[in-house]
């Protein structure tokens, strides 16, 4: 509304009004998002310090306690080989984060390059890239991930590529549309009229207006990649045992569900809560950066 400041009745305007401070103020009001953020933070900390707090190595099998229920020695129990589930989860968090962040970065970098290219160059490049986007959207990206992981083999790095490479299309489309909407807009024209250089326009005018949308799309990208990697593991295209992952644990639990429910409960609930937490954070960011719903 155009009424916050009137000449006759001055309204005190606060000084700290940077974009991120404003967004943070809105984010703070969303309790789900804040709760999600706390969980995500814990998840990250565990991912970093996991190997140091793990009571065992993930390759240590306790042959004396196979299929042990939760106890003082194995607080989350053990599986059929005798692997400590708590240790497995700690390492799973680490690998899950490495893969999800790595894959999101790969998608994002490819997406930015192609999106900028399409948006700025236009013409035939734009046409080809956008048809590529259509093609990627026509089939589920899990299908591409599966094909890639067959081609690339197993392991941490192949998985990052298998999940990351097919994910570019969404980012490319977003960035292209942001570039197009701004390139011909009056804001950029006004900046050109002021005499600003291309780099100045990109850094001072375009970037601050797209950073919110990009952060939000990244925040939605991470949980999607978490799910994709669990999916790959469940169909047997994930990390090779004994490298632990949520997908492997869930797949294993489903074949041992009768009699050994702790194998399912702990990894499944932690994984589900983590996904929800990421989505709450992403939703919160979306509202915080785009309070009026639009771009």
């Amino acid at each position: 509304m155009a009424i916050a400041v009137s000449q006759t009745r001055p309204v005190a305007v606060k000084k700290n009004r940077s974009q991120f401070y404003q967004s943070w103020k809105r984010f703070r009001k969303n309790y789900f998002a804040v709760g999600g953020l706390v969980w995500v933070a814990i998840f990250f900390i565990i991912g970093i310090i996991g190997p140091w707090i793990a009571p065992y190595s993930y390759t240590d099998a306790d042959f004396l306690a196979m299929h042990a229920p939760p106890s003082a020695h194995h607080i989350f129990g053990t599986d059929q080989v005798g692997y400590d589930q708590f240790t497995q989860i700690l390492y799973s968090v680490r690998y899950a984060l490495e893969i999800a962040l790595g894959a999101t970065c790969v998608s994002f970098i490819i997406g930015i390059v192609l999106g900028l290219w399409a948006g700025l160059a236009g013409g035939i490049a734009d046409m080809l890239i956008m048809r590529g986007v259509d093609f990627m959207f026509a089939l589920p990206s899990f299908f591409f991930a599966l094909i890639l992981s067959v081609l690339l083999g197993k392991g941490l790095f192949p998985m990052i590529l298998a999940i990351g490479v097919p994910g570019w299309a969404g980012y490319a489309r977003l960035i292209r549309s942001l570039v197009l909407s701004m390139r011909n807009g009056e804001m950029v024209e006004a900046a050109r009229a002021l005499g600003a250089s291309q780099t100045h326009i990109a850094a001072r005018y375009m970037f601050p207006n797209v950073v919110g949308s990009m952060v939000v799309s990244l925040a939605f990208g991470i949980p999607a990649d978490l799910t994709a990697q669990a999916g790959l593991s469940i169909v047997g295209m994930g990390l090779n045992p004994p490298m632990p992952s949520f997908g492997n644990m869930l797949a294993n639990a489903s074949s041992n569900i009768l009699g050994f429910p702790w194998l399912l409960y702990f990894p499944a609930s932690i994984f589900a809560i983590t996904l929800l937490a990421f989505l709450f954070v992403a939703d919160g960011l979306q509202e915080a950066f785009n309070p009026r719903g639009g771009m």
Binding site: Q7, V13, K14, R17, G195, Y205
Partner: protein
């Protein structure tokens, strides 16, 4: 005749390609503006008046013709050399909110203009923001506000302040008041007038409102489908409108009558502005012109002098 004009536009044309079709936005336009004067561009939608304003500033590149600013041919000046010149030629927009970054406070937006041209130090720029805000009649605390927190009138003042921060010689005013309420329009026009007087500014004033253009301009060009149909000093244009289109425009203005008996009759011409994609043959105004003859339908008229400084592009003149 102006001997050393600030702006000289010679035979400028601009075409756009839209989905394979060619649109003649501006065709063969020429005019000169003396420093300290206001040149009015008036026309309805599709007349090319905004495009013409952007061509003068080289925000768009002309397909043909030459543009001279302050004695320097800027038609083909590369961007690197053009950017410093932009200090001297500024623009204010119809929708000032769209022309500002929603993420920048008002103070930052004005400072940024000076920063681009490395004018002064950070402190001196801050001080200048306060001065400029005062100059355009706003309290200094609006520098902390974001564009969406201000009204249209306030934002237009900010747009003016931002342009002024570079000490320009020329300001292109592209429909600066048409989105504003009547009482705010007059405030902004009053401000523009004051600034011109105090700072010896040159304006290109673009509007569809004839009365406002007449009020502010020294010389006026009437545009129709990208062509200048009539050009004259403001008094002459309104005293002796010579092109049928100018006459129609003048008749279309609803003045407040002296009393109800002297109310205007709603006389009007038929038809609407044709598509600029395929403008009519001959004189582009002929399908709507009450005086059109055969020659108007087939032959393009050329500008003829009604008077030494009054030209109209119509077959029926002379």
């Amino acid at each position: 005749m102006p001997t050393n004009p600030l702006v000289k536009v010679e035979n400028v044309s601009k075409r756009f390609r839209v989905r394979g079709r060619e649109l003649h936005a501006v065709s063969n336009v020429s005019f000169e503006i003396e420093a300290g004067k206001t040149f009015g561009l008036v026309g309805e939608s599709g007349s090319g008046k905004s495009t013409l304003g952007r061509l003068v500033l080289r925000l768009l590149d002309a397909n043909e013709g030459r543009i001279t600013f302050n004695g320097k041919d800027i038609t083909n000046l590369p961007n690197r050399q053009l950017r410093p010149l932009r200090q001297e030629m500024q623009i204010i927009f119809q929708d000032p909110q769209a022309s500002m970054s929603p993420r920048m406070t008002i103070g930052r937006a004005i400072e940024d203009a000076m920063e681009i041209h490395k004018i002064g130090t950070k402190q001196s720029r801050r001080k200048r923001v306060d001065e400029l805000l005062e100059r355009v009649g706003l309290p200094s605390f609006v520098k902390y506000a974001f564009p969406h927190e201000l009204s249209g009138g306030q934002l237009q003042r900010i747009g003016i302040a931002r342009a002024l921060s570079l000490n320009p010689k020329l300001i292109v005013c592209d429909e600066p008041v048409s989105a504003l309420d009547v009482s705010i329009q007059v405030q902004v026009i009053h401000l523009l007038q004051e600034l011109q007087r105090d700072l010896n500014l040159t304006y290109i004033f673009i509007a569809h409102n004839l009365a406002v253009v007449e009020y502010l301009s020294d010389e006026i060009a009437v545009l129709y489908l990208g062509e200048v149909v009539e050009q004259a000093p403001a008094e002459k244009l309104f005293k002796n409108p010579s092109h049928p289109y100018t006459q129609v425009l003048l008749q279309s203005i609803l003045k407040i009558p002296e009393d109800p008996s002297s109310r205007q009759k709603m006389t009007h011409i038929q038809g609407e502005i044709p598509s600029p994609f395929n403008p009519p043959s001959g004189c582009t105004f002929h399908p709507r012109c009450p005086f059109a003859t055969d020659v108007c339908r087939t032959q393009k008229p050329v500008a003829k002098h009604v008077d030494d400084d009054h030209k109209a592009t119509c077959h029926l003149i002379g």
